[in-house]
Symmetry: C2
Subunit: 316 residues, 2 copies
């Protein structure tokens, strides 16, 4: 469930575009007005506003936002305003670039989006970067990371709920055998994790737990602390219990000295319209403090206001 809150009466896109244009005009920018509009419209509505803005002022709204806003607030507003598929394509492309490289974000996008959403990211990637997503991921990675990431971003998993229990048992056995021999990047492990439907994979992991007495991620943790193993564990978590994965990313972004604003912004802007209600519950349960309170304690100014609006704090 989404935390995005949309007012009962939504103005026409042309009206929203006009208000935004006013917010940019004159001395200083009206940040609160920008938040009031953009943080309270769904993806279709934001696309319509962008269209109306371009028609009225001959300019991409994102370009105006980029000129008027700055730093973390800018990134939060721009990322949220983007269409979800375009936004993921943008984040994925950043993740294949030298200085913003991140195998984690690639894995996160590949494993927590639906099959059709992921395909739309690949289409948006073609349109924007004149290349394919898997081509950049394969070029950017190597060895075990490539073996895992390329099939993850190329997958078009079956999304039905049907489960084959015989297969679940036999593949749980394969996973256990490979893991107990520390063959974590064995092609069979990769095959099972990257091609099976989420329902089937879940059945296999339940079977693993039942037959061998341990959660698979516990057995993988016992293995070692190398980067590939961490990524594999996170992929399994994203595919089966995404809210726990996102809770942990938020926790690590907020807790401790300093804040990881990029991670915080990414999770809030990509999940506000999807499953942020579930992530907030998980956060509260795990940290004994609400996500709103944690965000308010760690951020400030317009950036804080934007994030709080997206996680559903306060009035519409």
């Amino acid at each position: 469930m989404a935390t995005l809150r949309i007012p009962a009466h939504v103005p026409a896109p042309s009206e929203d575009a006009e208000q935004l244009h006013k917010a940019f005009e004159g001395w200083g920018t009206n940040e609160q007005l920008i938040i009031d509009i953009l943080a309270h419209r769904n993806a279709a509505q934001r696309n319509s506003i962008r269209k109306a803005y371009r028609e009225a002022y001959g300019k991409d709204l994102l370009k105006s936002l980029d000129e008027e806003l700055s730093s973390d607030f800018e990134r939060a507003v721009v990322l949220f305003t983007l269409d979800p598929a375009e936004r993921d394509a943008y984040l994925a492309n950043e993740s294949t670039k030298k200085f913003t490289s991140s195998n984690w974000i690639l894995m996160e996008i590949a494993c927590t989006r639906s099959s059709y959403e992921l395909f739309n990211v690949r289409r948006a990637y073609h349109a924007r970067y004149k290349k394919s997503l898997e081509e950049d991921v394969a070029y950017h990675t190597k060895g075990d990371h490539r073996k895992l990431l390329v099939p993850l971003v190329s997958a078009f998993r079956y999304e039905g709920e049907e489960v084959n229990m015989t297969l679940a048992k036999s593949e749980a056995k394969i996973l256990h055998e490979k893991i107990s021999h520390k063959h974590y990047s064995d092609e069979e492990v990769i095959r099972i994790v990257t091609t099976r439907s989420k329902a089937q994979l879940n059945a296999t992991l339940n079977q693993y737990n039942t037959a061998f007495g341990n959660d698979i991620n516990k057995d993988l943790e016992a293995g070692s602390d190398d980067e590939f193993l961490k990524l594999l564990r996170a992929a399994i978590q994203c595919l089966t219990v995404p809210e726990k994965y996102f809770e942990k990313v938020l926790r690590e972004a907020i807790v401790g000295l300093g804040t990881d604003e990029w991670a915080l912004t990414r999770v809030v802007t990509t999940r506000a319209e999807v499953d942020m209600v579930r992530i907030k519950e998980e956060y509260h349960r795990r940290n004994s403090v609400t996500l709103e309170k944690a965000i308010a304690g760690d951020t400030s100014g317009d950036y804080e206001k934007m994030l709080l609006a997206l996680v559903g704090a306060g009035d519409v």
Copy 2:
């Protein structure tokens, strides 16, 4: 260019459905009527006929064809009548089954269809088999064949004509280095062949030829005659000169003792609506006999009539 020939005046789908129903009625089946209709309608028209047939007679046209026809003629009519994406999903599924297993057909479908066509095959596969294509391919294969086939069937290649010549040069060098060390299934070779756009791959192979004095497939041939190497060569051919690949499949199906009806039927039914004109030119050039004549010499009866209709012989 397609060899499929559609009459100037096409009857309404309901009329075609009625004629087909008549062709099935009474003692014996009117095969010529079936050919006259189904071998002269495009994919959209055939889909409309199936819909009209189901509405009028409460039965899938394919089921009636299956009951009324037999052997090679049946397979040709049924395969051609299927929607292209459904047909490919069907052929791919057969290819992952024990007794009809074929890595070649999987490769052929992955490499000769456009990116969107291949995606539609994956969608049709979900709908019909309640599984994903890549999941069955990965489960059915292993080792080097899996390393090549899974990314091939999962690819969504960029389709623009843009070419990066610097990249073409550097990747030609990588290919040459790996091949000269006989590392044919090296992950870099697989990456380049399975993820680059067809235009980019073509530029890389031209660069290979220019810089190292040989066609890449010549260098691969020198390697050895193992099954993986043959499949890799065929994939490269399918990605760059599909008409030459299909010409060879047809030649091997026709020439010599006996006929490989499955291969002949597959190529004719899948290419009649796409690039059969080009394949026929290539066939004539290479064999000094027209494809029509070769088919007529090697097949007979209704099966022959169906194939000849699809490759554009005779009147509409």
